[in-house]
Every structure is written in structure tokens, then in C-alpha cells.
């Protein structure tokens, strides 16, 4: 039986290949008001599959049995997998985990394999590493060194086993408001298949709508929906503005001679100057891996500072170069903003129809440098309040009209939060970070924090407030008033250039999609806004974003236009224009926080893009 194939001779040896995708001129512009979305009703919709979101989901499923009622819970996660977009040191306090899953240690695949064995603090000068005492809150007895990405991924599998619908690759892109815009009815996911100019491609699919009785926002620090909700419901009216830091991290497999499992080291001083808040860390994880990195407060004043280059030159300090000598290889890199505002910056955490949990509200304990335990507990408390609201709504819908949806009241969540150990945990350390914001810089901070953490333990009648309401961006000084920092060129294998590090994040975004970083002022996004952005950022701040972004997204490049008119039309100024390489983005949110002109809005790209962290 011969192969039943007949060949026809090739007539044309050169045949032009036509593109399979629909040509641009046939595409229609996307109209958000005219789009029809598929709508799905759920009980609870959680935006963000991190520790807070997943703890809320797990707690709700546990309460199902107690309440004798089934809850349909959906978790939306913009990363390609649960755990892909999260990173942290991390040394976690298992306090919340012990409450959520008391039997966690008997589960076969739990990732808390490395207990912390020692905690020290070092003050770095250019060549020395001097041991200094550390606040008692940084004592790590009973804590574990983990990869937060692995920990989150593990929580995700538990949630799925319990029946939570977890959808990675789908971002919470917009809020569904009630008709009077006084409450939240749910969220909608991102559109897919739009090209760079918002025209609909062949593969276009509108986002889906989830109508939920309770919507929990668990996006992490400076989430895009959280920002919108805080503005919409004026949640920050009685709270201070949130302040942030950027954490840049690498994971290395070190030479066995340098590996000391369980060792926790924090550093202060070099390479940062005494006016800049921040410090480094080295955590020896399980399996011969070491997590190290640098946290820099985003209220830094000098626009010449480049967080990425500070991390790279820190690794050349003798303490680090010895640690990373021998057969060490770097296996991961990443960065993410984290909250530093403490108790004073926690906004009102509930709104009609939902609540903010985890770092979306901001519960990081700066002295302990830990936030996971508080995030998880806030998720659990929100779950309990949500379960109450769901059971209440059920009784009431039989009476009220079904057309006007009742907005769930989550105020119980805020009261239970204030009565819980999360509040006392944050109350004790509330003055520590703020004490660094005096003209005495880190010296004032160290002095005050030493006394407060060792002796007073927060039992003071005063609370330092950010009275002037100065945001991180507003702390930036013009470049002319600051000393220019020249960084040494990278010296592989210890330090590398940014783009080489970026490949380790595995970040990618589908190419032909709208740029998710919008240059926007008061809802306007035209070339005048862009031109103004370039004028102030390049003119006054020496193109800060080009130096600050840990993924090389922003570039202020030479503009080819010769006449000022042409240049202005295309958004350039002074011979420069802004190029946004959004494909590199690792979703750290630094730009939205730190850009001095506050005209960059981070929005969600198509889900599934972004970094692919597995061990960070």
C-alpha cells in the first residue's frame, strides 16, 4: 500500500506569503459603551490570587460547611499562573496560616521547609559590614523563609481543591458600578484581541462581567482597581497618603561553602546615602538557594538614583561578593512596589458591595518587614464578614425587589480588623517609618526607632502623621538640585545590565495590544499631555523614569522631528520623546507611584502576560 499522495509541480517558485491576520484597515475601533459582555453571577468575586485573596477564598469555603450554605467563589488572577506575579523576600510569620490551616504541616507538599535560624543586622560601609543591634520585632523565631511565589501557588492548589474557581490569565480590568455609582456590583475582565490602536482584531473577545454580591479587591500594593475605588469612594479622606518602597530581588544558587540555611540578614547603609530610606537583605532559603535584594523608599529625592544599579553595585560589596563567589549562579530577578505607610495610611477598607484586603489596603509591618501574615488575616476577616453579608442578603432578597440589587454591607470587616491582632501588630510600629522622614535622615530614624522598638514598643500617646500629605512623587527634587550619581558599568557574573536581568523574569506581553501604561491627565491622553510630560520629566527631573523603572520600560530618546511644531504634534519636547516599551513591564507599579508629574496610569494588559516568577 503506497502512500496515497499525488504531487503537483510547483509552478511559481516565489509566492508571496500573505499575512493570515486580518489587515488593519478592515478593523473596527473598539467602543466600550457598545460592547456586549457575557455576565456571570457569583457570590464572591476576588480580584487577585495572592495570599490575601486566596486566604479569603479558602476561609469562605471553610465557612460554607459551618453556615450550611454554598458560596460560588471566583478568583481572577492576571498572571499566567497563580504565583507568577508575586515576589517578596520572604520570611513569613505563620500566625495567620496557623489559624487558616492548622494542619498545614501535615500536608505533603507545603513549601515552608526552611525555618529561620538566626537574625542579624549589618551596617555596610564601602568595605565593611558592621554588626548592629536590630529591633526585637525583627527576631524571627518560629518564622519560615519561603519563596512567596511558591507559597502562593500552594495556597492556590488548596483553594482549587476546595472548589474555588481560580482563573489565572484573566485580569480584573474594570469595576461594574451600580446605576447611581454608589456601590460596586462586580468586576469585568480585560478585553482580548485589541491592536495597538484599540481596533478589534479577528481574535477579539470582550471581557466578561462577574456580578458578585461581594467583591474583594486583593491586587497587592497600588493596585489599579484599588486606586480607582479609593478615589471613587474617597476612602482616604481620614487617612494619610500611602507611601511605598521598591523592592528589587535576585535569587542565587550559591556555592555550598557559602550556604548557611536559615540565616536571615538585613543591611542598612551602603550603597544608599543617609538621606535615603532603605536597606538590603539576604535570606538563605531551602535547597541551596539564597534570596537577596534591596528595598528603597520611593520618597527618595534624587532623580539620578537608579534602584536597579544600586542593587547591582551592592553586590560588589565584599560581604556580598564573598557570598556569591565560587560556583554561584543567578537564577531569578524581579521587582515590586510595597507599602510603607503603616497604620496611618490604611484607608477605609470597605465600600458598598465590597472591600479592600491585603496590600491593596496596606498592612505591611515595616519594622518586621513582613506583610503576608496581616494580608492573610485581613482576607480571612473579610471572608467572615462576607459570609455574614451573603447569609443576610439571602433572607432579604425574598422581601425586596429582585431588580434593585442590594449592596452588601462590609462594615463588619473594618470593625473586626480594628479588633484583631492585625491592628495591634501595626499599632506597635506605627511611628517607626515616619521617624525617618526628618531632616536627620536615617540617623534620626535609627535613633528614634531604637528607643521606640526596644523600650516604648509603640506605647506613646503620639502618632506621626504625614500632615503635609506629601506623596512619594512630590518628595522628588529637581535634578539640578541633586548630585548626579555615576554608577559603575556591570561586571558579570556578579552584576549585569538591566536587560540581561530582565530575561530572568520571563516577562512577555503579546505584541499587538494597546500599551497598558497610559500617559493621562484628568482623563485626557493626547499629544499635548505627552509633550508636557516630556517637558517636565526631561527638563526638570532628568528623565527619572528611565532610571527608575526596574524593567527598562521607559526611554527618553532623541526625537527625529526637526521643527518644534512637528515635534509637539508627536508629543516630543526639546529634542526628546518618550518611548514606552510596555512589553518589558514586570507589573511593579513604580511608575504610577513615583513619576514626578503623576501622569502615568498603570492599567491591566491582556491577562497572562507579565513576569513568570516561580521561585521569587
Amino acid at each position: 500500500m503506497l502512500a496515497r499522495v499525488r504531487r503537483r509541480p510547483v509552478i511559481f517558485s516565489r509566492i508571496t506569503r500573505t499575512l493570515h491576520a486580518s489587515t488593519a484597515r478592515q478593523r473596527q475601533l473598539f467602543d466600550p459603551s457598545a460592547v456586549e459582555r457575557i455576565s456571570e453571577d457569583v457570590d464572591v468575586c476576588i480580584v487577585g490570587g495572592g495570599p490575601a485573596g486566596l486566604s479569603a477564598a479558602i476561609r469562605l469555603k471553610q465557612l460554607e460547611q459551618k453556615r450550611g450554605k454554598e458560596f460560588r467563589i471566583v478568583v481572577l488572577e492576571k498572571g499566567a499562573e497563580v504565583g507568577s506575579h508575586i515576589l517578596s523576600g520572604a520570611v513569613i510569620e505563620p500566625r495567620a496560616l496557623n489559624e487558616l490551616l492548622p494542619d498545614w504541616s501535615s500536608r505533603p507538599d507545603h513549601p515552608l521547609k526552611q525555618p529561620a535560624t538566626s537574625s542579624t543586622m549589618k551596617f555596610l560601609t564601602g568595605s565593611l559590614a558592621l554588626p548592629i543591634p536590630h529591633p526585637p520585632q525583627m527576631n524571627n523565631d518560629g518564622n519560615y523563609i519561603v519563596s512567596l511565589s511558591q507559597f502562593t501557588s500552594w495556597l492556590g492548589t488548596i483553594a482549587e481543591e476546595m472548589g474555588v474557581e481560580v482563573y489565572p490569565g484573566f485580569a480584573g480590568a474594570g469595576i461594574v458600578y451600580s446605576d447611581d455609582r454608589k456601590g460596586v456590583l462586580g468586576v469585568c475582565t480585560n478585553e482580548v484581541g485589541l491592536d495597538k490602536n484599540f481596533h478589534m482584531k479577528e481574535t477579539f473577545e470582550p471581557g466578561m462581567e462577574f456580578r458578585a454580591k461581594v467583591t474583594l479587591i486583593a491586587e497587592g500594593a497600588h493596585g489599579s482597581l484599588s486606586k480607582e475605588l479609593i478615589n471613587q469612594f474617597d476612602l482616604r479622606r481620614d487617612a494619610d497618603p500611602q507611601t511605598y518602597a521598591i523592592g528589587l530581588k535576585e535569587v542565587w544558587r550559591v556555592d555550598p561553602s557559602q550556604y548557611r540555611p536559615g540565616e536571615v540578614v538585613h543591611t542598612m547603609g551602603w550603597p544608599l546615602d543617609w538621606k535615603t530610606y532603605g536597606g538590603g537583605w539576604v535570606y538563605h532559603m531551602a535547597d541551596g538557594l539564597v534570596s537577596l535584594g534591596l528595598v528603597i523608599g520611593l520618597d527618595y529625592a534624587n532623580p539620578w538614583l537608579s534602584p536597579y544599579n544600586e542593587l547591582q553595585r551592592m553586590k560588589h560589596h565584599p560581604y556580598f561578593s564573598r557570598l556569591l563567589s565560587g560556583s554561584s549562579t543567578r537564577i531569578a530577578y524581579g521587582a515590586r512596589a510595597l507599602n510603607e505607610g503603616g497604620l496611618q495610611a490604611v484607608p477605609r477598607v470597605h465600600f458598598p458591595g465590597g472591600a479592600l484586603i491585603g496590600c491593596s489596603a496596606g498592612f505591611v509591618n515595616i519594622a518586621k518587614i513582613k506583610g503576608t501574615h496581616n494580608a492573610m488575616k485581613s482576607g480571612m476577616l473579610a471572608a467572615e464578614a462576607a459570609a455574614d453579608a451573603l447569609c443576610r442578603t439571602n433572607e432579604e432578597t425574598t422581601v425586596s425587589k429582585p431588580e434593585s440589587p442590594r449592596l452588601s454591607d462590609m462594615s463588619v470587616y473594618e470593625t473586626s480588623l480594628k479588633d484583631s491582632w492585625v491592628w495591634s501588630d501595626l499599632h506597635e510600629v506605627r511611628n517607626i517609618r515616619a521617624s525617618f522622614n526628618t531632616p536627620l535622615g536615617i540617623w534620626g530614624g535609627i535613633a528614634y526607632s531604637g528607643i521606640d522598638s526596644l523600650f516604648l514598643k509603640g506605647r506613646t500617646p503620639w502618632t506621626f502623621r504625614n500632615v503635609s500629605r506629601t506623596s512619594d512623587a512630590a518628595h522628588t527634587l529637581p535634578a539640578s538640585r541633586c548630585k548626579r550619581i555615576t554608577y559603575p558599568p556591570p561586571q558579570p557574573p556578579l552584576s549585569t545590565d538591566l536587560l540581561t536581568s530582565l530575561t530572568l523574569t520571563g516577562t512577555n506581553h503579546a505584541e499587538d495590544q494597546p500599551i497598558h501604561l497610559r500617559v493621562r491627565v484628568n482623563g485626557l491622553e493626547d499629544s499635548t499631555v505627552r509633550r508636557e510630560h516630556v517637558r517636565r520629566n526631561v527638563g526638570d527631573y532628568a528623565g527619572l523614569l528611565g532610571r527608575a523603572c526596574p524593567a527598562g520600560v521607559y526611554e527618553y530618546v532623541d526625537d527625529e522631528h526637526t521643527s518644534a511644531v512637528e515635534e509637539g504634534k508627536s508629543g516630543g519636547w526639546g529634542g526628546k520623546k518618550l518611548v514606552i516599551n510596555s512589553q518589558n513591564c514586570i507589573h511593579c507599579k513604580l511608575c504610577d507611584i513615583k513619576v514626578p508629574t503623576q501622569d502615568i496610569t498603570w492599567t491591566v494588559p491582556e491577562g497572562g502576560g507579565g513576569p513568570k516568577y516561580t521561585i521569587t
Binding site: 499522495v5 504531487r7 503537483r8 493570515h20 475582565t189 473577545e205
Partner: protein, 268 residues
């Protein structure tokens, strides 16, 4: 292995769960393989294959009776099947191998697929699969499968046209010299190349519906196939790191350096 008696087509799409294309791979410390603790997704060429099967159904409508996807992989590979089901496949088959077992070689995969095809009561008319997997770049499975089953094969397809009533597939292949057009009688194995189509997104409503679609499970012993590797990997290393070059001032210096490197035969 006979094509179905009535004029309805049954399509089988084998897919593979491979390391995601955006991940930077690393050789493991023992130099026996790469670090597999990274993101995996469906092999991009297999996505194109699933998309083509779904488009065939959109074009031929009722002539396509079923689209089945099959994968050979560890328990986690069921997620890859769910993505294919969300793109439009009807049902899935999971030939499960133990977690941590080595990935089967092309010949073993082809033999397994032959067994799967043999077990389909309604027969299989088209097998559409990716031309190669991006982790091993072997590019052999489709051809081996066609050979084992004595079917027609059309590899590196950039255009597929199926005439269900005449039981013929007209396939345009990408070859070194340009394009080649084949008319193949069904049943046929087609392997997909990059330009065949642009796969659709698995939309969330479809992912939700896909959870209800059936997944059949087999092991290699059920099928009577031995998946043990026949090749032994001695060592895997990264390519040597690029070392810097140097600049030369003029042509004479260039010639001198080339001579030093033993590249030129000309005497300076």
C-alpha cells in the same frame, strides 16, 4: 484505522505541555537536563493545530463530527487539555505518566498515538499536530506516526483545505524552495507550521464550559506501549559564553590577527 463509513470527519489533535516560550531556561546543576520548575504551556505549534481543527469545523460545519485532543504527560498536563477544550475541542484523552518521569521520545509518542487512534471506535480521519515541540525541536513524531499507521502525511502545512465528501485534503507545505501543494487522500497526518493560522484566545466563558467536557484517562500499560527512553543523555551544558572581541585600527592589523587565528592562508 479505516476512515468512518458515513461522510463525517473525526479529528484527533495531539498536544504537548512544554516549557513556556518566554521562560529563560537553565541547565540543572547535575547537567542532566534543564530546570523544569518553571512555567509550562501548550506547545505553540500545537495551539495552531487545535486552532486549525476548530476552523475546519467552522468551515465544514456538520461534516466534522468530533475534535478530540490527546496528550501524554504528567498529571498537570490536564491543564493543557483544558485549554484545548476551551479553544473548541469536544473531548480529551490524557495518557498519564508519573510525575517526574522523563518526557517520552518521538517514537514512543508515535506508538502511543497509534494505539489511541486504534481504540477510537468511530475511527480517525485527520490527525493534526504541531510540526515540532519547542523543548526538544525533534520534528519527528508526525512523520513516524504516519509511517507506523501507513497513512498519508503532509508536514509543515501552511494551508489546509479538506473536501469531506471526496475524502481528500489539499495541503500547501512550506519547503526549502517555496511552497508545495499536495492532494492527500484521507486518512492523513498533517503537521502544522507557523503561518497556518493565529490561534484564538481561550476566553473565560469557554474555559468555564470546558470544565464540563469529558477527559478520558489512560496509562501506558493500558495501551500496551513502552515509554521508556531508548536514548541516554550523557550531558547537557549551556553554549559557551561569548567573550568580547577587539577592535583593529587598520586592514594590516586585521590581516595579522586573522593569520594569528590561523584563518587565512595568505602570507602577510
Amino acid at each position: 484505522m479505516r476512515p468512518s463509513a458515513v461522510r463525517l470527519l473525526n479529528i484527533l489533535v495531539p498536544v504537548k505541555r512544554a516549557v513556556d516560550f518566554a521562560v529563560k531556561i537553565r541547565v540543572n546543576p547535575e547537567q542532566t537536563g534543564i530546570d523544569l520548575n518553571v512555567k509550562h504551556s501548550m506547545n505553540p505549534f500545537d495551539e495552531i493545530a487545535v486552532e486549525e481543527a476548530v476552523r475546519l469545523r467552522e468551515r465544514l460545519k456538520d461534516a466534522v463530527k468530533s475534535i478530540k485532543v490527546v496528550t501524554i504527560g504528567p498529571p498537570k498536563a490536564v491543564e493543557t487539555l483544558r485549554t484545548a477544550l476551551a479553544m473548541g475541542a469536544d473531548s480529551a484523552i490524557h495518557v498519564e505518566i508519573p510525575e517526574g518521569a522523563p518526557s517520552p521520545e518521538p517514537l514512543a509518542v508515535a506508538k502511543t498515538l497509534r494505539e489511541v487512534v486504534a481504540r477510537q471506535k468511530e475511527g480517525v480521519d485527520l490527525v493534526i499536530m504541531g510540526k515540532q515541540a519547542i523543548d526538544d525541536d525533534a520534528g519527528q513524531t508526525g512523520q513516524m506516526l504516519a509511517g507506523l499507521m501507513d497513512w498519508a502525511q503532509a508536514t509543515f502545512a501552511s494551508k489546509v483545505d479538506v473536501d469531506a465528501s471526496a475524502k481528500v485534503a489539499n495541503v500547501t507545505r512550506e519547503i526549502d524552495g517555496g511552497l508545495e501543494q499536495l492532494r492527500c487522500q484521507l486518512p492523513v497526518v498533517i503537521t502544522t507550521d507557523l503561518r497556518l493560522n493565529e490561534p484564538r484566545y481561550a476566553s473565560l466563558p469557554n474555559i468555564m464550559k470546558a470544565k464540563k467536557k469529558p477527559v478520558e484517562k489512560f496509562t501506558s500499560t493500558d495501551l500496551g506501549v513502552d515509554l521508556a527512553p531508548r536514548l541516554q543523555t550523557l550531558k547537557i551544558t549551556e553554549p559557551p559564553k561569548r567573550i568580547g572581541g577587539g577592535k583593529v585600527a587598520n586592514v594590516d592589523e586585521l590581516l595579522a590577527k586573522l593569520k594569528e587565528a590561523g584563518i587565512t592562508s595568505k602570507r602577510a
